[in-house]
């Protein structure tokens, strides 16, 4: 690696080493690596919080933590996983892959790229420090509904400001991705030849810059309501707590597509590779992604069916929500059609991808059930909701991330990972996550409420099963950590193409990818060959 990288370096530029390399880097690959490791640490932290929750819920009654701390754990688990785990992980993938996929020398704004990452550790230091503050960490849920959240102790302003910092990081990251995709494509890489991962990230970046500032506004209003006497969410002054929910979910619903659209992109790279067929319906995939993004702006109040909206609102948001099933169905259909009569092999990335298609679809169907307003009156705030969104996030977003790591790890490290360990990781994860989350459907439909540390005795068996599954799932991820470290340190040499059926510019550069790729513009004939439109 060092010889190739050195050859591509300009001679007068010194190579930084040690900690300075990581603090001062402008290299999209280094920054991508930072994002990915940071998010993995956050996954372990958020996962640890999830295991505290599952340990408490192993039996009915209060045994391990007190209820306030339990509520802090549900709140912090969500904030850490969403803002520290899934989002930075996908930005890490974007950093690593987008420049290589479109034939660009780096991201459009390399210095700002560095800052986008280096805000995150500071923001999370602020957020996590609240665990040790008077009044404990935020405990009103990650949705921060007023007026409950206004009872938070010293943690309150730290939580608000850390969200502001995370927002600055996200908006800068999104702007960088948009500028890169719109401006840095190699000649011949037309928009409709871009890999689907680039397309879904471009659309995600637009969602980010449209809704993250709205979240910033919402939490700013919380801050002024608590400390400066404003009445945004106080009916006595003419405001309305429901207003917070509207503004929050105007952010929150596009946010869930921010978490899943890049995952759709990853799937659209992996499935054609191992089916050895071009992606079925490329253009329809692009249009479906854009439709999902558009619809995500007009469905937000399906999170608030029981809050007491006028009937017209309930109906509008029910039907608009159901519309999302159409473009999502297009995507699932296209993935299945891509596999149809393909010469399939089942390496670890493909196993995770197939599990994604099946299990994400389960989450999609439970989403449709929740979209039905009168039915949602029963499901609201029950464990059925918890089951639903964990099915779209764990075998959805997180399986896509894991699949992406297996898929591109040989390109990043130059070594093949251990396929045997990968398969162990897959089967342990796939089975244990269903053991964890599937019973939640049943206890939820039977009436068990979320965000409560105790429950009625009849839910005991299913909760015990869930907890056992959760601990197996959590432990399995340590196997993943071991596998990744082992792969970085050595292993069979990976070829440039890595996978027999892989297409795209990133597979035309050596493995490991040299520090600087596409300092010279790739040949347009290569682009035509690698991106079969």
């Amino acid at each position: 690696m060092s010889t190739t990288a050195a050859a591509l370096h300009d001679h007068h530029e010194p190579q930084l080493t040690g900690i300075k390399r990581w603090l001062l880097t402008t290299n999209h690959k280094d920054i991508g690596t930072l994002y990915l490791w940071f998010s993995f640490i956050m996954f372990l932290l958020g996962g640890g919080m999830a295991l505290i929750i599952r340990a408490e819920l192993f039996q009915p009654g209060l045994q391990i933590v007190d209820p306030q701390f339990f509520n802090s754990m549900t709140t912090m688990h969500a904030l850490v996983m969403i803002f520290g785990g899934v989002m930075p992980a996908f930005v890490g993938l974007a950093n690593w892959m987008i420049p290589m996929m479109i034939g660009a020398p780096d991201m459009a704004l390399p210095r700002m790229n560095n800052w986008s990452f280096w805000i995150l550790p500071f923001a999370f230091a602020m957020l996590i420090s609240t665990l040790f503050m008077r009044g404990g960490a935020p405990a009103a849920g990650w949705t921060m509904y007023a007026p409950l959240v206004l009872q938070t102790g010293d943690a309150f302003p730290f939580m608000i400001f850390s969200i502001h910092l995370l927002g600055i990081s996200s908006v800068m990251g999104a702007i960088n991705i948009i500028a890169t995709v719109l401006n840095m494509r190699a000649p011949g890489m037309s928009l409709m030849r871009m890999p689907l991962f680039v397309w879904t990230w471009l659309i995600t970046a637009y969602l980010l810059i449209a809704v993250i500032p709205v979240l910033a506004g919402a939490v700013t209003m919380l801050l002024t309501d608590k400390f400066f006497g404003t009445s945004f969410f106080n009916p006595a002054g003419g405001g309305d707590p429901v207003l917070f929910q509207h503004i929050f979910w105007f952010f929150g619903h596009p946010e869930v597509y921010i978490l899943i659209l890049p995952a759709f992109g990853v799937m659209s790279q992996i499935i054609p590779t191992f089916a050895r067929k071009p992606l079925f319906g490329y253009a329809s995939m692009v249009y479906a992604s854009a439709s999902i993004a558009f619809l995500s702006f007009i469905v937000w109040a399906h999170h608030m069916f029981t809050v007491g909206m006028p009937l017209a609102g309930e109906l509008f948001f029910m039907f608009s929500t159901m519309l999302i099933a159409i473009p999502t169905g297009v995507k699932v259909f296209n993935w299945v059609a891509t596999m149809w009569r393909g010469a399939m092999t089942f390496e670890t990335p493909m196993l995770f991808a197939i599990a994604f298609v099946v299990l994400f679809t389960i989450g999609g169907f439970s989403g449709l059930m929740l979209a039905i307003t009168p039915a949602d009156f029963q499901y609201h705030d029950s464990y059925f909701v918890v089951a639903h969104f964990h099915y779209v996030l764990v075998p959805g977003a997180i399986f896509a991330l894991i699949a992406a790591v297996y898929f591109w790890l040989p390109k990043w490290t130059g070594h093949m990972y251990s396929e045997a360990l990968g398969k162990w990781h897959f089967w342990l994860s796939a089975v244990s996550l269903n053991v964890t989350f599937f019973p939640m459907h049943f206890v939820g439909l039977a009436g068990m409420q979320r965000r409560v540390p105790d429950y009625a005795l009849q839910f005991a068996d299913f909760n015990a099963i869930s907890s056992v599954g959760a601990f197996i799932f959590g432990t399995s991820q340590l196997l993943f950590l071991y596998l990744v470290i082992k792969c970085i340190r050595g292993g069979p040499q990976a070829s440039a193409r890595v996978w027999e059926g892989a297409h795209g510019l990133e597979w035309t550069v050596p493995s490991p990818a040299p520090a600087h790729t596409f300092n010279t513009v790739p040949d347009s004939e290569v682009i035509r060959r690698e991106t079969l439109a």
Binding site: D106, F228, G238
Partner: protein, 289 residues
């Protein structure tokens, strides 16, 4: 691969500014949090954080200006800057949208419901039977006490004229820059800066008037909340814009820009038009109707 070098400027490594900026912003916000929690030591941390943030801005912008002048940025880099500025401004639009939503929601839904309209019948009957919805309002509990409304046709109308004129003067300056008329450029830009700071001064005067004579405060129910948050954030953006224009004016005087290469000027002009447009919405929906 073909042999065409891309020539896109990628700094091999960055200076310490990003990490310094992170530390500065964190200090600023941790200090602010401590102050809000009643710990007086917070103010030292806040000031330190602010100073570090300002240092970062001087250092970082200085680096970019030096690189720009030494010709490291080609047309493609310029296009990256343009896309970034456009979408940054869009994100600012969405930030204001959150507060406009609060205003419209209060006027269209929450106040009428509190007054007994539609689904609010029972709330009104049980909690505040005497309350009748109207705008402006500080809510059924009369939060903040009796107040007077800020009229549209005094200072706000003058401020509208000022901001609209400043949009004209900055465009004049831009045309002068493109035509290489240095005197007109500096005059147009200086006028814009003066108009910008005049707006801020009049806005401050309006706030003093509101607090001392109208009993209109941030604590005046939903009217005071939306009024001060919308005009306050806008005023903050105008102040930032005026400071940015001042920097651009100084750079014009130093001769940093040429008729065909002056993106920094254009970015600030875009930003200035953005605060102008936001003001028009404020004038219409906060002051006028």
């Amino acid at each position: 691969m073909s042999a065409v070098k891309t020539n896109y400027y990628v700094p091999h490594h960055t200076a310490w500014w990003p990490i310094v900026g992170s530390a500065g912003l964190t200090g600023l916000l941790v200090g602010a949090s401590m102050i809000l929690n009643g710990a007086s030591t917070g103010s030292y941390i806040l000031v330190a954080g602010l100073l570090i943030t300002l240092l970062m801005m001087f250092g970082w912008f200085g680096t970019v200006i030096r690189e720009s002048i030494s010709g490291l940025y080609n047309a493609r880099v310029d296009t990256s800057f343009r896309w970034s500025m456009i979408w940054f401004i869009f994100s600012e639009v969405m930030f204001f949208a959150a507060f406009f939503t609060a205003l419209f929601y209060a006027r269209a839904y929450s106040l009428p419901w509190l007054g007994g309209m539609g689904k609010g019948v029972v709330t009104n009957e049980l909690l505040w039977p005497a309350f009748e919805a109207m705008w402006p309002s500080n809510g059924p509990a009369n939060i903040g006490g009796a107040f007077k409304v800020m009229g549209a046709w005094g200072i706000p109308a003058i401020n509208t004229a000022i901001l609209l004129s400043s949009g004209v003067t900055v465009t004049w300056a831009h045309h002068a820059l493109k035509a290489d008329h240095r005197r007109q450029l500096i005059l147009g830009l200086a006028l814009t800066v003066i108009l910008g700071f005049t707006f801020v001064a009049l806005q401050a005067d309006e706030y003093i008037h509101a607090y001392s004579e109208l009993n209109l405060k941030m604590t005046t129910g939903i009217y005071g909340s939306t009024f001060f948050m919308l005009t306050g954030f806008h005023g903050f953006h105008v102040t930032m814009g005026a400071v940015m224009l001042t920097v651009i004016l100084l750079r014009c005087i130093k001769g940093h820009f040429s008729p065909d290469s002056h993106f920094a000027f254009e970015a600030v002009a875009w930003y200035w038009h953005f605060v102008d447009v936001v003001w028009l919405f404020l004038f219409i929906f906060v002051y006028w109707f």
